[in-house]
């Protein structure tokens, strides 16, 4: 309820400020689009089907990039989390590369993979992999040794320990890592689509700058926000359902 009211209040403030600016002419009204103008841009783009295309292109890139990163992070995380020699070998490399801001490498991806889909997907994979890998590894390493002892004394084999204890015990941490990775994917797709893309929400925003259409910039940004919070909400709901046992008291 409070959330809905806060959203409504935000829209009212936005409308008041932009319409107020229009009548007072504090700055050029075109620089501060009203909610109506933003919706109008969305409607006109939706009418010729291009809005759908941009959304689809961006979603597909996020899905592919994030999906590839999630699978790699899970596989490598399990290996590193459960097998100490692998951890000792992989950790220093990860810790060396991880602090570099991913955007610094974006031009490299364009050089390597060209202007097509591959460079965008690869960049999202690269960016989202590290936080997910670190989070997954940490939650696997944090599994309480007493739980493992309890299961071993009930006769669990190594494989059963992994399946019946390590995975469920680490699951809360793994889900959080995946959610963080997804948030990051939405974050970086804009950057990837700013550079040499001919479709996608990031491209739409860039187009708004080039053709001087601030309403289109704001619309692109809002769409990304809505898309992100929708998927995040879905992931949160799935998380709550899967981890019901933690919430009960």
């Amino acid at each position: 309820m409070i959330r809905a009211l806060a959203l409504v209040a935000f829209l009212i403030v936005w409308a008041a400020v932009s319409h107020g600016n229009r009548s007072l002419q504090a700055m050029n009204p075109i620089l501060l689009p009203t909610p109506g103008e933003v919706v109008a841009v969305a409607v006109s783009l939706a009418r010729d089907g291009s809005l759908e295309r941009h959304l689809l292109v961006s979603s597909l890139r996020i899905a592919e990039g994030f999906g590839l990163a999630a699978v790699t992070a899970l596989a490598l995380g399990v290996l590193v989390g459960l097998y100490t020699p692998a951890r000792l070998a992989v950790e220093p490399v990860i810790e060396f590369v991880r602090p570099i801001p991913p955007l610094a490498f974006l031009p490299m991806f364009l050089v390597w993979f060209g202007l097509g889909e591959t460079s965008k997907v690869a960049f999202i994979t690269y960016t989202t992999f590290f936080p997910m890998f670190v989070g997954i590894t940490a939650s696997l390493l944090r599994v309480d040794i007493m739980l493992l002892r309890a299961a071993a004394s009930l006769g669990a084999t190594r494989l059963q320990l992994l399946r019946r204890v390590v995975v469920p015990a680490a699951l809360p941490g793994i889900v959080v890592a995946l959610r963080l990775g997804f948030g990051l994917a939405i974050f970086v797709i804009v950057g990837a689509e700013f550079m040499g893309a001919d479709a996608g929400l990031g491209h739409l925003i860039m187009e708004g700058r080039v053709f001087f259409n601030p309403a289109q910039i704001v619309m692109g940004a809002l769409l990304l926000g809505i898309f992100g919070s929708l998927v995040n909400g879905l992931l949160l709901a799935a998380e709550r359902r899967a981890l019901r046992w933690r919430a009960l008291r």
């Binding site: 007493m146 299961a151 006769g155 933690r246």
Partner: protein, 264 residues
């Protein structure tokens, strides 16, 4: 005699032969247990008693197979142990239930690992739920239970796997005094049915005299066996009987000598 359960009731013999254990701290090796030799008979409840830090939990962890001894060995029915195994059930002080499983799922964890068919798992679970008085809480999760209830689940989980030996590491240590006595009575009642071989670690002398067939008093660190007291009391014990208090004061005297050494 039990009708359900994988291996049924009954215990096994545990032989602890010349066990030594040292831990390495800052590059120096410090002894924790010195030359422990002990035989636990089939169906016997043996209490390990001693001041904190004397190594009684370490000894239990060695018998459980969680820690390798530095020297000596542990035999179960004549075969040396090499790690944890389902014939040695463990009940931990901090319960260590699987928090993502319900009470019933926790109890059937062991039988399910062994591939016991689902219908039989349900029978076993129902039996042990009833034994520990938690039939109405089968579908709850551990976070919803009190400490005493959690420990009942932990005991039921260990017993449902039909171990011949149950190792209990201060299982009632985290409970309040009243719950603790109720749980002792419960365990003693269960043991009269199940006749497991039980090694029970405690630092409560009253608890040891109430439960044990034999009480083994250990020295302060590094732990050795100081004295063994066979408790010749009837199966159903009265904490206020003169014989009971006699054992209590006798053992208290021996334990105090060791506690005093810690403070010297």
């Amino acid at each position: 005699m039990s009708t359900v359960g994988v291996g049924g009731a009954g215990g096994a013999r545990v032989q602890i032969e010349g066990v030594h254990k040292s831990f390495t701290l800052d590059g120096r090796s410090a002894p924790a247990l010195i030359d422990i030799s002990l035989e636990v008979q089939t169906g016997e409840l043996l209490c390990l008693l001693g001041p904190s830090g004397c190594g009684k939990s370490t000894l239990l962890n060695i018998v459980a197979g969680f820690l390798p001894p530095t020297g000596g060995r542990v035999l179960v029915d004549g075969s040396p142990i090499t790690g944890p195994g389902p014939e040695r059930g463990v009940v931990f002080q901090e319960y260590v239930l699987f928090p993502w499983l319900t009470v019933a799922q926790n109890i059937e964890f062991g039988p399910r690992l062994m591939g016991v068919p689902a219908a039989r798992c349900r029978e076993i679970t129902a039996r042990y739920l009833e034994m520990v008085g938690l039939s109405e809480h089968a579908t709850k999760f551990p976070v919803q239970l009190s400490g005493g209830m959690k420990q009942r689940v932990a005991i039921a989980r260990a017993l449902a796997n039909s171990p011949s030996i149950v190792l209990m590491d201060e299982p009632f240590g985290a409970l309040d005094a009243q719950t603790r006595e109720v749980m002792q009575e419960e365990l003693s009642r269960i043991q009269r049915v199940e006749h497991k071989t039980i090694v029970f670690v405690t630092h409560s002398i009253r608890e040891a005299v109430y439960l044990a067939d034999r009480v083994v008093v250990m020295t302060s660190s590094p732990g050795r066996i100081k004295e063994v007291f066979p408790i010749k009391l009837p199966e159903t014990r009265n904490r206020f009987a003169p014989e009971f208090t006699h054992y209590e004061s006798e053992i208290t005297r021996v334990v105090k000598e060791e506690v005093a050494k810690v403070h010297e």
